[in-house]
Point group: C2
DNA sequence: ATAGATGCAAACCCTTTGCACATTA
DNA sequence: TAATGTGCAAAGGGTTTGCATCTAT
């Protein structure tokens, strides 16, 4: 697991020279969780000890942004805020206009739609900003604002695991039913095999989830950070519904393909976004497994279509 | 159809008093299409004729924002821009970092997801900002940037009609097939009736679309402004697929219900967002028609479930 | 020795404000 | 005439910059 200073060293641009003050500013900045305004960082530095000029702090913030250590964000307050990117992937914001607190989230579904829109317009998207302004739960209730919880790596992993588990569960149900209802021997075998694999994955995932909770029992109480309806709530479920009155093998394979493709994409996307870490490995590992299923299903689909064709004409 | 000055009069706050300079600024501002920075408006006013102080222009911009005539937008440039809301509903932005042009779009799908996230966090959302930064098509090709086309009311209507037509087409296909395959006499009748209605709507919609194009032949060449996958690409299509191997009446009704609900919501949402206009009426009219279908389907579904129950136990 | 980092204060940009004056209901 | 709107110039905030001074390589 990468440390904060490794993270910085990795991004330190060539040709610059080291400076104690800059290092100190960076270090203080990386210790913070929220979205700091430049001024707040100045104050922090002042309380920590050092006499560092405002200009240097501004210059260092700029330096961090260029190096990819920090991101400049704009909540429409008339000044910029900065958040570091150490174990902290890009995300969207819910911004409470009452307490000025900001809450972070990610939605794979929204990101996918953003991609679609950009593609439709032939626009090369590099970065998206989504901010939802309104009133947070605590402020609506008149309570003290919750202390903002930055999405730590384990929170990120928690949500990914939840999604993975939901996906596997609904995949398992789908393949099990499909296997039971398929008449074709070969198709049945494929579905059985997939059901078995989903079951195995599910076990692994659940074990990891328990581990994660054991390491931090507070973890369950945080609100959802990572949203993904994709395979679990969507296609597998719809597919399973469709199975109630008998199944067409071709259809069932198609449903499987769609779902596996969706979840592969999901895990790949977030795996890639992670900093080097245990979590990243979990994501990519599952992305690979989904890809194997996907390939299997596609092979099987092609073979089925072939066989139907050779059996002559309108096998559908 | 409401004129620009009616639009302003409607929103003029009580208790204020009229002023020629303010009226002039507002008028110039409303003639613009893009996103003006305060400074650009100052220049515009200067070239138009008048000697109006910078302060007054700032004050008038603020006045317009408070009155709901203008919206303040922030593209992270370190200054605000302003766009008027006359026949110009809220929207999202694609912002080209190369030519600094911004392109507008709306996605009902994204808005729905934003709502879901906010609900999940018990966050009372009032306003959402979505900005996609990157490089626009022209800049990628090294061409001159396209002149930005503000989504006029007719562009908005064009896309709404396209979506409506796609929805009706896929609804028509679905209900036609469903009617052909349904064994139950009563169910068949319902599906036939719905198919007939969809066909009728489809005719109306297509006529309106032709009218719109006749009024402005350029209209077809503009890129999509309003995105909605909803019913057309999603549920009806999936439903129709599912029908290939025979149909369960209950299922078919459910698919219909989902789709009609989705498109009702879509038309309602954008109908409400429109300024008072012909377009608004089209939207709301169709929202109502979808709602009638929805009600019909729900009644039918309930009756079917009743009948199945009384026929005893596991009718599924 | 020299490119790069820092400090200080001034400059900058965009926006808001205080106050005297002009206007409108 | 009393409440609003306008102009001017100054102040405000957040941020950047010029320039002399340090300091790492």
């Amino acid at each position: 697991m990468q440390s904060a200073s490794e993270f910085v060293e990795q991004r330190r641009p060539a040709g610059g020279r080291r400076s104690g003050k800059r290092d100190f500013i960076v270090q203080v900045f990386l210790r913070q969780e929220g979205h700091l305004a430049a001024d707040e960082l100045v104050d922090l530095i002042r309380t920590e000890d050092a006499r560092i000029s405002r200009a240097t702090i501004y210059r260092t913030l700029q330096w961090m942004v260029e190096a990819g250590i920090a991101r400049k964000v704009d909540f429409g307050e008339g000044r910029y805020r900065f958040e570091h990117s150490y174990r902290h992937p890009r995300h969207f914001h819910l911004i409470c206009k009452t307490c000025n607190q900001s809450y972070e989230f990610l939605s794979s579904d929204i990101e996918a739609l953003i991609e679609e829109v950009a593609d439709a317009r032939h626009f090369a998207a590099r970065q998206s900003v989504l901010q939802i302004y309104g009133t947070c739960e605590s402020c609506q209730a008149g309570r003290q604002p919750d202390r903002a919880t930055a999405p730590t790596e384990s929170l990120f992993a928690r949500d990914a695991l939840r999604i993975a588990i939901a996906t596997e569960r609904s995949g398992l149900e789908f393949y099990t039913r499909a296997a039971a209802l398929t008449k074709d021997a070969r198709g049945r075998k494929v579905f059985k095999r997939l059901a078995a694999e989903e079951k195995k994955h599910l076990g692994t995932l659940e074990a990891r989830y328990r581990e994660l909770l054991a390491a931090d029992p507070e973890l369950e109480s945080h609100p959802t950070f990572l949203f993904f309806k994709g395979a679990a709530n969507g296609l597998f479920a719809a597919g399973t519904e469709a199975l109630r009155d008998g199944v067409d093998d071709r259809q069932a394979l198609l449903v499987g393909i769609k779902c596996e493709r969706g979840s592969h994409k999901f895990f790949k996307r977030y795996g890639d976004r992670f900093e080097e870490s245990e979590g990243k490995r979990i994501f990519l590992e599952f992305a690979d497994e989904e890809r194997e299923h996907l390939d299997l299903l596609i092979r099987e689909y092609k073979s089925l279509v072939e066989r139907q064709k050779s059996r002559g004409g309108t096998a559908r």
